[in-house]
Amino acid sequence: MSATRGGGEALLRVFRGDARGGQEVEYRVPIETGMVVLDAIHWVQAHQAPDLAVRWNCKAARCGSCSAEVNGKPALMCKSRMDSFPADQPITVRPMRTFPVLKDLVTDVSWNYEVNKRIPAFKPRPDAEWRWLQSDIDRAQEFRKCIECFLCQDVCHVLRSHELKHQFAGPRFLVRIAGLEMHPIDGEDRAPFLKDTAGIGLCNITQCCTEVCPENIRITDNAIIPLKERVVDRFYDPLQMVWRKITGKNTP
């Protein structure tokens, strides 16, 4: 990859259409040094297709708005460098497949916001001291880096292929729950929610979500697997079941 490469022209194939259907339309775009796919889409808007719909905000990989599928791979358009693709082949840009298309590259992601509302909120333990070390929060801070681009939701086969949105919260919200669960003084019990509503058992840890995360959050290893362990300990560990029967408390 080199920032010094400019000049030439790229062929873009962009999905144009809406909920009823559509097709890929070709656009030729002049290449500038360091250009990203979102720049190319903006160039098309300004010069060829003023009504081309695309969602974006910061153009600096901070807001997570410009998610799409570039050459079939879920990615932020603002981080997809044109010079990372073969110069002699077209670049295909399509909307995220897991969500309903509104128009062109824009999808209806409102389902995610509905899931978020149901997650039990942060609840500090009443006796907690509001002091903790940096090492106590390094892990939770990793989860709070999430920019809600929903690329992990898009790539997750439980949502993408099996369409189990009604049973599974998806990696984004398991990360959010992990951030709450690993807050040093949170006292809420989210194990029943994780098992029954978030459907954490449906994840079979294929790591696809981790691979597409633009914030490099280790979603599977650091968030989902520890949460799965909590659920297993709580609901399926025979020793703990006996302990709970005797003491009436949740954890020994």
């Binding site: 250009m35 300004a46 905000n57 509302k117």
Partner: protein, 604 residues
């Protein structure tokens, strides 16, 4: 007639960044039905771009700090044009607002003894910025968002407000279109809070996102409210300059807070040359003292050494960098060098992770090994809707404003870190002010004729069979403002800009939109542009009247401050024959506040 839907709320908040969310939370907690409207998805507002931290005199790292010092720093940074009462409330309440965020689940970086860590920033006497690496804004907006969604606030995502309605002299509601479908919505509301952020998209080089089109300022102006200080546009000294696609993207002041050094093409550390004489004693005398200060900061130790010259105020730095480049000492791509690579790579990656990734991924620069190239970028609007400090009330009954869209808090120049604290302190106050007002008010009537006129206006660009596109016009506006109303200004340039703006307004009325009303960015830009044209005119007219250099406003033809002009704000209002700008007296500081400067041996 076109169909439209009607929604009713006690309080309608326009804008869902930090200020809007904080206002909505407060109004909701006070028992009001709250509608929160955002042009984007929730959590994407410009607040997520805030990097370095939130300024609050918690005194965790430097125990000498207190609200009085924060207040003095803010007033000095703003060249004493700030509304003293806003600066006072801000300094006094910011620590509580930060602690409140922690109570709501925010996880700030920690000191060795487990409290909220604070870092140094330009113009702040002590280490004052609570932060989370270089993604403080994201932490804040997520915390507010998660708090807000459990309170029953109704969020209208991807809606654009196009106009405020009045019933006689008071606010009656607002008109909107749904961006996804183009359908129209009438919001009836007892009170409206404007929290729409800034105006950066009027300039070609900017750190701002597409949303920053001065909507709130323009809506308030059209509704008859006063705007103040519109000439004060902050050019952040460090934006990316290369490659072209990322030009203007912010490089956080946190880089300098952590020890970043500015050098020109000759390798000279030029900032010493540009320190104002009156402030020189606050900064390190030489490289050795600056280095010792950084070493102490890295070790988390107290020091008698003074801060490096790179931590001067933003207005000063932006002028310095501009001058270095203009005089031929710039970097290959027209900026200067900002270097943090002399610190251990692990520390840079831990304290500035987003900067590290931003430069590796977008510019092929490893900031742990090489310097960055940086230059000024349009960043922040100090001016905005004139508000009553304690309640956020604008000069129109039922209208409130907070955050960047409001004026007065920052005077002629904002200190880094003061915007995040501003939006918390005054977001809360405006939310409370609006709720209080709404409780004593009835729902006002919206005129049917005005609704119909607004719908006709909105749809007119679809009916034209010829005319230019909104994108062309936007580019022309950005070039005009960048070229004539930038960091350095002069009478002739400003006059040219004013004339150019007149032509652009005429062209705007002839814009043609292609396609349907379904998620049509070309159409959306038409309304955003109208707002940008209003604020651009306000900036230019105010800049013309301020025949002096003060804070972020630098006039080549009037290079010094004028004490007379230090006693007035430029005030913009809508008159029968167009826009009128005139000076209004600065509020008088009471004796007990003036005393704060005397005891600190400062001159007011």
């Amino acid at each position: 007639m076109e169909p439209y839907e009607t929604r009713e709320h006690d309080v309608l908040v326009i804008g869902a960044g930090g200020a809007g969310l904080r206002a909505a939370i407060e109004a909701s907690a006070m028992g009001c039905s709250v509608g929160l409207v955002t042009k984007s998805l929730l959590g994407k507002a410009h607040t997520v771009m805030a990097e370095g931290g939130v300024a609050a005199a918690l005194a965790h790292v430097d125990p000498q700090d207190g609200w009085e010092t924060h207040f003095r720093d803010t007033m000095k940074g703003g060249s004493f044009l700030n509304h003293w009462r806003m600066a006072q409330l801000h300094a006094q309440e910011a620590p509580d607002r930060v602690r409140e965020l922690e109570r709501w689940g925010a996880l700030f970086d920690r000191t060795a003894d487990g409290r909220i860590l604070q870092r140094a920033f330009g113009g702040h006497t002590w280490k004052r910025l609570a932060h989370v690496g270089d993604r403080t804004g994201l932490e804040m907006i997520r915390t507010l968002q998660d708090k807000g969604v459990h309170m029953g606030i109704e969020v209208y995502m991807e809606y654009t407000i196009t106009r405020l309605f009045k019933d006689g002299d008071r606010i009656a509601g607002a008109f909107a279109y749904r961006r996804s479908t183009g359908e129209f919505v009438l919001f009836r509301a007892k009170a409206v809070v404007i929290a729409t952020g800034g105006v950066g998209k009027g300039y070609r080089i900017t750190s701002n996102s597409w949303e920053y089109t001065g909507d709130g300022q323009a809506l308030a102006f059209e509704a008859g409210a006063e705007l103040i200080d519109m000439e004060f546009v902050q050019f952040h000294p460090t934006g990316m300059v290369w490659p072209p696609g990322v030009m203007g993207i912010l490089v956080t002041e946190g880089v300098r807070g952590e020890g970043g050094i500015l050098r020109n093409a000759r390798g000279e550390r030029f900032m010493w040359k540009y320190l104002p004489e009156a402030r020189r004693s606050e900064y390190a005398a030489d490289e050795d003292e600056a280095r010792r200060w950084v070493e102490a900061a890295v070790a988390g130790e107290q020091t008698q050494d003074r801060r490096p010259p790179e931590l001067s105020t933003r207005d000063n730095l932006a002028r310095a960098i501009y001058t270095e480049v203009k005089e031929g000492r710039g970097s290959p791509h027209g900026g200067v060098f900002l270097d943090i690579s002399y610190l251990p790579a692990e520390r840079v990656k831990r304290k500035l992770p987003s900067m590290y990734h931003q430069f590796v991924e977008l510019a092929d620069v490893d900031i742990t090994k090489q310097p960055m190239e940086v230059g000024p970028t349009t960043h922040y609007m100090m001016g905005g809707v004139r508000v009553e400090p304690d309640t956020g009330a604008a000069t129109v009954k039922g209208l409130f404003a907070a955050g960047e869209a409001a004026g007065g808090m920052h005077g002629a120049n904002r200190l880094g870190g003061n915007s995040l604290s501003d939006l918390l302190v005054f977001g809360r106050r405006a939310g409370a002010g609006a709720a209080e007002y709404a409780k004593g008010a009835s729902m006002a009537q919206v005129s049917q004729a005005e609704i119909e006129a607004e719908m006709r206006d909105l749809l007119a660009p679809f009916e034209r069979t010829q005319g230019e596109s909104s994108y062309e016009l936007h580019q022309a506006l950005q070039d005009l403002m960048q070229g004539h109303v930038g960091i350095f200004r002069a009478e002739a340039e400003l006059e040219k800009a004013l004339e150019g703006l007149g032509q652009l307004r005429r062209r705007w009325a002839q814009i043609r939109v292609e396609g349907s009303r379904t998620y049509n960015p070309g159409w959306h830009l038409v309304r955003d542009l109208r707002n940008l044209l209003v604020v651009s005119e306000a900036i230019t007219r105010s800049a013309l009247l301020r025949k002096e250099s003060r804070g972020a406003h630098s006039r080549l033809d009037h290079p010094h401050p004028d004490p007379e002009l230090g006693r007035v704000n430029m005030c913009t209002v809508k008159a029968a024959d167009g826009m009128k700008v005139s000076p209004t007296p600065l509020p008088e500081m009471p004796v007990e506040i003036k005393t704060l400067f005397e005891t600190a041996k400062e001159k007011v």
